[in-house]
């Protein structure tokens, strides 16, 4: 029986030769990821169901990366982080990356692969919908709720419904003005926000080699915005090199059968993509950036798991080098590693940090989720009024960045930076 990559990973995790879409299997989970917003509730359920003295299924299989509400005075947010400190100590967890220590990393979905916790062929679940990011390295990875997470914490197993696969075939050469964000916003625009519900979104084809690992993370990150259970790329040499540089732990990659039956297949030529945005208030409201030049903006934002990585800031720096922003421009590195790159990497002898400062951006903030999801009222970059925002983040629902009356346009870092210069939505090609 021919099987897709997702089916093969889940079959192996279930101890089976094959699995079929629609069936429920108990799958072995390699990594459970949680953070400050859903960790305390997950721990609450774990203790309620398995007992106060229960131990997690595998000390090395539980990774806790607080990131959401860190740089805030909110007392409950601090209480939640304290709950994680207590639990990590009690369970003697080696992979806890707490704030206010030199182990702090930042946004969990960028930190998890940076730290070598994402390995091809493995199964990852996390209490965050953007856990689908990690399919970029050939893992099955999906977001779950606290109850399922509490169950995984105690058993290392999860009841998984095998998803049907939608295959996205990428061909052609990617122009330098096209980012991973342009690819996924177009795909979501075509599929619709519920178009891949319950499905695996598998990216294949010769065009995949054109995409950097971070492009693939950006793309898989937003698979959930089309409703997908997971996004996935097979691990190629580029992915294997990325993983091997970050972990000594052995892993066994899998590849799908190219002719495995799928629910649907769509092909895209990367050379035909254009810089684009998703208009308010849904990520599927695709429009070419050039068609939105009449949209006047108040704020630009570069950050988050899908738009705050090293290459995202490199793209922003390329566009902003030697130019001035016309609107408030917020820069939030996802992780400590990204923040370090901003401070030290250079274009034309100038650090990216200096390029941003000379362009008039607001000084770069500490790493974390910040205003991507609004958050407590004192969150950096949070909207409070009618600000029109262009952002590299992944959701533009009403109120997503704080204020219900602040419309959000989603775009690549190139398009966000070009738009920051003009104060209107702008196609970045003229700045490259």
């Amino acid at each position: 029986m021919k099987q897709t990559l997702t089916e093969k990973i889940l079959a192996r995790a279930a101890g089976r030769e094959t699995v079929s879409p629609g069936e429920n299997v108990w799958a072995k989970i390699d990594v459970l990821l949680t953070h400050d917003v859903c960790g305390p509730g997950t721990i609450g359920i774990f203790k309620r169901e398995f007992g106060e003295d229960a131990k997690v299924f595998d000390r090395e299989g539980v990774v806790i990366i607080p990131d959401h509400y860190i740089h805030t005075r909110d007392e409950k947010a601090h209480r939640n982080v304290a709950t994680l400190f207590d639990f990590a100590k009690e369970q003697d967890l080696p992979y806890f990356y707490p704030p206010w220590t030199n182990r702090y990393r930042g946004v969990c979905h960028v930190a998890l692969p940076e730290l070598g916790h994402v390995r091809p062929g493995e199964t990852i679940v996390g209490t965050d919908s953007h856990t689908c990011t990690h399919g970029a390295l050939g893992a099955f990875s999906t977001g779950i709720g606290n109850t399922d997470a509490g169950f995984v914490m105690g058993t290392g197993k999860m009841l998984v419904k095998i998803p049907e696969t939608i295959r996205i075939v990428l061909t052609g050469k990617k122009p330098d003005y096209i980012a991973g964000k342009d690819v996924i916003l177009r795909v979501i625009g075509d599929l619709g926000t519920g178009g891949a519900t319950y499905c695996a979104l598998e990216f294949t084809g010769p065009g995949c080699a054109e995409l950097s690992i971070e492009d693939r993370m950006t793309i898989c990150n937003m698979a959930v915005e089309a409703g997908a259970k997971n996004g996935i790329f097979a691990a190629d040499d580029k992915a294997l090199a990325y993983v091997r540089a970050r972990t000594k732990k052995p892993f066994e990659p899998l590849v799908g059968d190219p002719d495995a039956p799928v629910k649907a297949e769509y092909s895209y030529d990367l050379s035909k993509f254009v810089p684009c945005v998703a208009r308010p208030h849904c990520p599927d409201r695709y429009a070419p950036a050039a068609d939105c030049a009449d949209v006047k903006l108040d704020r630009a934002y570069v950050g988050s798991c899908t738009g705050g990585k090293i290459e995202d800031f490199e793209m922003a720096a390329r566009v902003l080098d030697g130019r001035k922003v016309a609107i408030d421009t917020f820069l939030v590195p996802a992780t400590v590693e990204v923040a370090e790159a901003i401070r030290t990497r250079e274009i034309g002898g100038k650090t990216w940090e200096r390029i941003f400062a000379e362009a008039g951006c607001i000084p770069v903030s500490a790493p974390g989720c910040a205003a991507c999801l609004g958050g407590p009222v004192d969150t950096f970059g949070r909207t409070h009024g009618n600000e029109v925002v262009i952002s590299t983040t992944n959701r533009n629902f009403i109120g997503r960045m704080g204020s219900k009356t602040a419309p959000i346009y989603l775009a690549s870092p190139l398009t966000v930076a070009a738009s920051a210069i003009e104060g209107r939505i702008a196609d970045p090609r003229k700045y490259l």
């Binding site: 919908s129 779950i144 009841l159 519920g194 109120g399």
Partner: protein, 180 residues
């Protein structure tokens, strides 16, 4: 429970988890009932939407929420079904759900996530009285007795019947039934 008789609240398509429970309330922990997550249910709807929760009581008069396509899209926050359940909502009846919201509703047992066989948003208005029969899979509009069929719960029915993920796993022998 087999019959739920209540007023219905009607919402549209793509009701996302920021509508159901805005991110500023994610500092509240769903397993701590004193944090009154329910009082913020549906607080993220636009300000011109009818209030879902009665401010005085912190509860909802609407036991049944009728919605369109892709209900619960967005975040994996389990705060969403917990907030609805804590507010006193018993069931959501939507054309279809975002996967994680559906799964969380089933796993927690907080709300029944029924799918409609036909779009029902235009058949009800907020405040209408209705009766949901969870065994017969029907929603009845009480003003004229019109009965609308719902889909059965499919592959998750055994989990729902068991009373949630932990009860199901114990029944299946996945975890010891001796645990409290």
């Amino acid at each position: 429970m087999s019959k739920i008789r209540s007023k219905v609240y009607v919402a549209g398509d793509n009701i996302d988890t920021d509508n159901i429970i805005p991110a500023q309330y994610l500092n509240l922990v769903p397993t701590i009932p004193d944090e009154k997550l329910g009082s913020y249910a549906m607080a993220g709807l636009p300000d011109d939407a009818a209030p879902f929760v009665d401010k005085a009581t912190g509860k909802t008069p609407y036991g049944i929420l009728v919605a369109g396509k892709n209900f619960g899209c967005g975040s994996s926050r389990e705060h969403a079904p917990v907030a609805l359940g804590a507010a006193g909502c018993k069931a959501v009846v939507a054309e279809y759900y975002a996967r994680i919201f559906f799964r969380n509703s089933v796993a927690t047992g907080e709300v029944y996530p029924f799918e409609t066989a036909t779009p029902l948003v235009s058949e009800f208005k907020t405040g209408d009285e209705a009766e949901l029969d969870t065994d017969a899979h029907t929603l009845t509009r009480l003003s004229d007795g019109k009965v609308f069929p719902l889909k059965d719960l499919g592959a998750v029915a055994p989990v729902v019947e068991a009373g949630g993920m932990f009860a199901y796993a114990r029944k299946e022998g996945m975890i010891p039934s001796a645990a409290h």
